[in-house]
Symmetry: C2
C-alpha cells in the first residue's frame, strides 16, 4: 500500500474496526480519535478544545464560536470550530506526507487529494445490533437515537466543510455495506479492491 | 451464489462487463438489454415499444405517453412508459423466482427485495477513455456529451420509478469506482465481498 486510506463511516457500521484491521494488514499507522491530541499538540492548542469541537459545526450558541458573530470582539475572527478544522486538516496533510496510513473520519477524504477513500455503512437495525453487542448494557432504543444524532452531526460537518454530499458513492472509491457480510466481508472486499490476496 | 445480483452503473464505467464476468464466474444467466425482448414477449407487447421506452421517463410530447393526459382517450389510461416499466418489473421478479442471475439496470435493485446490489461508477475522464478505447472512431467530446445524457436519463428514470436517489451508497451493498482499479479490480472486490476466492 503506497497511499493513505481514508475511512468514512456511518456510526455503528464498523468503520473504526475496518480501519484498524486495514492498518494492521499493511503494517501502517492508524488514526481516529488519536488525531485529536496529536493535532492539538501540533497546533499548540488545548486538547480539550479539539475534543469539544471534533467533527462539529460552528454553533452560534457556543460562546467561543459566537465571538465570530460579535463585531466588537477582537479575540476570534474565525469560529473556534473552524480554527480547529483548519489545524486538523493541516495536520492530516502533514501525516500523509510522512507515508501511507489509515485515517478515519474528519473529512480526510476531501482534505487529501491522492488518498484511496472508503465508505462503510449499514441498515439501522444492523448498526443497533452491532453497537448493543459491543455495549451490552445499552438500551436499543437509546442506541438508535444516539446513532441518528451522531450520523446527523457527521453529515452536517462533512457537508459544511467540504461542500460534498456525505454518502454519495461517487465521492469514494469503494463503499461497503457491513450488514450483509460483516466487517470481515468488508475487509475482504477492500483488500481485494486494493490488489491484495 | 444463491441470490440475484443487480448491477447499477454510470454509463461507460464498465457495468455490463462487470455483470457478464460475474455471471460467468457463478455460471448463472445474465440480463441487460436481453431483458427487453424477453419482457416484451412475456407481456405480449411489441418489442419496439419496449426498446423505445427502455429506461425512459413518461414524456408529454410523446404521442403514446400523451394519451395519458387526454381525458377523452379510452385507449391508454397509463402512459406507455409506465406500462412498460410495470411489465418489465413483473418480468424481473419472475426471472428472480427462477434462481440466481445477474441483472443490469432497469431499477432491478428496487424491484427485487432480496438481491445483492452493486453500483459501479468512474470519473468522467476515465469513462470517456474507456468508451473511446471500445469505439475508437468516436470523438471524445461527443462521447462526454453522450455519457452525460445517458446518465441523466438513467438517474431521472431511477428516481422517478423508485423514489430513491441514484448513486446514494446506502441504496447498494457494494459500490466500486472502476477508474482506479479497472473492471478487474471491481470484479475482485465484488467476488471477495460475496465470499468468493
Amino acid at each position: 500500500m503506497d497511499k493513505v486510506i481514508t475511512v468514512s463511516r456511518e456510526f455503528g457500521s464498523g468503520g473504526r474496526e475496518l480501519g484498524v484491521r486495514l492498518a494492521e494488514h499493511f503494517g501502517i499507522p492508524f488514526y481516529d480519535k488519536e488525531l485529536i491530541s496529536m493535532a492539538a499538540d501540533h497546533a499548540d492548542m488545548a486538547e480539550t478544545a479539539f475534543q469539544h469541537y471534533d467533527e462539529k459545526l460552528p454553533d452560534m450558541h457556543d460562546p467561543l464560536d459566537r465571538h465570530y458573530y460579535n463585531p466588537f470582539s477582537a479575540v476570534y475572527k474565525v469560529p473556534m470550530s473552524d480554527q480547529i478544522f483548519v489545524a486538523q486538516s493541516s495536520f492530516i496533510r502533514r501525516l500523509a506526507e510522512q507515508g501511507p496510513c489509515v485515517i478515519v473520519g474528519r473529512c480526510a477524504d476531501r482534505v487529501l487529494t491522492d488518498s484511496v477513500n472508503l465508505f462503510i455503512y449499514a441498515k439501522m437495525k444492523d448498526r443497533v445490533k452491532r453497537m448493543v453487542s459491543l455495549e451490552p448494557e445499552a438500551d436499543p432504543q437509546e442506541m438508535e437515537k444516539r446513532i441518528r444524532e451522531v450520523d446527523r452531526k457527521r453529515k452536517d460537518y462533512y457537508q459544511y466543510y467540504t461542500g460534498a454530499q456525505w454518502g454519495r458513492a461517487q465521492n469514494y472509491h469503494l463503499c461497503v455495506e457491513s450488514g450483509l457480510v460483516g466487517v470481515d466481508g468488508c475487509l475482504r472486499a477492500a483488500l481485494a479492491y486494493l490488489g491484495e490476496n
